[in-house]
Structure formats: C-alpha cells, structure tokens
C-alpha cells in the first residue's frame, strides 16, 4: 500500500474517532470553555494559513503570481455572497486568464 493510502487510512480512522468522541467521551471533558474555544479557533487558524500557503507559497519560496489574482477574485465574489462553485471556478478562470495574457 502506498504512503498516500496509509495517510488516507490514518485520516479516516482519526477523523472518525473525533466524530465518535462527542458521543462517547464524558461531557465534562469536552465542555471545558478552553477546549470549546480551541475547537472554534483551530480550524479558523488552519484554513487561513492554508489559504496563504496555497496562494503565495512555492516550495520554500514566496511568490506573487496568477494565483494571487485568483484569490482577489475569490474575495470579491465572497463579498458579493457568490456560491462556492462560482468562487472556486471563477478563481481558476481568472488565474488561467492571467497566465494566458502573461504568456
């Protein structure tokens, strides 16, 4: 089995354990205010970091390329309350267009 399959298996088992823990773990553990705040803020931090790394990262370098134009479109579309697919497909199209023009 390849490394990627093992990773998928690990995420599947770990992800299911997280889902199930809410049904099986004693309530007092998960109801600590600190734990609740962490659960709210961790996904926010990770998604923001993933966005930044995905758009401006290229290996260990920081670059400004067509992906930044795609992100700018995405932010504009989100401000206009566009649906998810419009945001994602539009960002791809803008990046492709910038690359086409820049040659």
């Amino acid at each position: 089995m390849s490394e990627l399959w093992w990773t998928i298996a690990a995420v599947a088992v770990g992800g299911y354990a997280l889902k199930a823990s809410g049904y099986f773990v004693p309530q007092r553990v998960l109801e600590l205010p600190r734990v609740t705040r962490l659960a709210l803020l961790t996904p926010v931090a990770l998604l923001a970091a993933l966005t930044a790394a995905q758009v401006f990262g290229d290996g260990k370098a920081l670059v400004l390329d067509a992906r930044a134009a795609g992100l700018a479109f995405a932010v504009g579309a989100l401000l206009l309350r566009a649906p998810f697919l419009v945001v994602v497909v539009g960002a791809a199209a803008v990046a492709a267009l910038v690359r086409l023009i820049a040659g």
């Binding site: 990773t7 998928i8 997280l18 809410g22 049904y23 926010v44 995905q54 990262g57 998810f84 539009g90």
Partner: protein
Amino acid sequence: MTDEHRSVRLQSCGVGVTVGTYALGFGALAVANGFSVLQAVALSVLVFTGASQFALVGVVGAGGSAASGALASLAVGSRNAFYGLRLAPLLGVRGWRRLLAAQLTIDESTAVAISQRNQQLARTGFWTTGAAVFVCWNIATVTGALAVDQISDPKVIGLDAAVGAAFIALLWPQLTTATTRAVAAGAAALALVLTPLLPPGLPVLAAAVVALVIAWPEPRCPPEQPTSPDGPDE
C-alpha cells in the same frame, strides 16, 4: 408523515444538493493534486468532512509530507467532536445507530438538527441531511475527479489557484467576530513568515499556535458567542 416532517426532509435534501457542489470542487482538486480518482472517493466515503479533505489534499499537493497533511486534516476536523456532544442527547441513539450517527456528524447535519423546534423533527433533520449530503457528496466527488482525470496539466485551467479560493470560501462564514478575524490574519501572516524557514506543510501546522495563544487564557469578560454552524460545509 406530518407536514412539518415533510418540510424538514425537503430542507435536508436542499442542503444535500447545495453541499454536493463543494465536492465537485473536492474531486477535481484531489486529482489535480496527485490523488487518484479512487483515493478521492475513498476520502469522501471514509473521512466525509469537507474541510478536512480539502486540507489533506492541499498540504500534500503543495509538497508537504503526508504526516503534516494528516495532522492539518485532523485538526480542521476536531470540531466534529463538539457536534457529537450536542447531538448525543438530542438523537438518543444506541448501539450500531450511534456508530452510524457518528460518521454522519458534520456541519450541515448538526446545523439542521439543532435548528428544529422539537426532538422528533431534530432526528428527522439529522438523519435526512446526513444521508442526503453523503449521497450527493460522493456522487459529486466521482464526477469532479473523473472530469479532471482527463486533463493533462491542471495548471493551464488555473486549478492550483482554485485550491486557495476553496480554503478562503470555507473560512469565510467563520469570520464574523473580531476574534476569528484576528486569528485568521495572525495565522496567515505566521504561515507566510515561516514558509522560507520550514519544509512545506509545517508552516500551516505552526500557524495553529495562533489559535492556541488566543484560546488558552480565560477571558475576563464574557466570551463572544461562537457562530452556529450554518451554510454549506464548514
């Protein structure tokens, strides 16, 4: 079946179809980032949590190690534990039904269940939404994955830019309080600062420290109300 149950079912199916469109994006991006069609589908069936799946595919696609991708994915999915906590007394499930309920515990099924005005409707909402999203999510994953499988260079159609757009779209509904905005800005900045210093994948994980620093101290004033889960997947 009462009118109320019928309307909850209708709402649930609407949520399923809407959320399914996210999985078109997931299937496409997974394959563009080097996952096979079968691996994309395996993630949608077994992991079945949108943001976790996107996180894994994003980190691995950007050259991060499998371990850092898996960690980022699980950290993003940690909130599902709290959904189960809220749902357990509401659903009152036992035995194998509890195991099935756990797998269907996601943003949408939780949101629909807890917004109902009594326990019967909450149960209907949970199971119907969970099943509808599961079916639509997987059909859409296969469709998106197969479509991109035909394309030799996903960069030409800008699919690498679509990943960042997907992440910010998933993040957007959370940016409703000053705290979440500050955490998001701090985490993005930290990830960029660390990018030249650490191997791919690790800057993203390190940025989770920002959440820890903000969440750890006990607030002196009453905490802000957490946003309730609503809208399409996370």
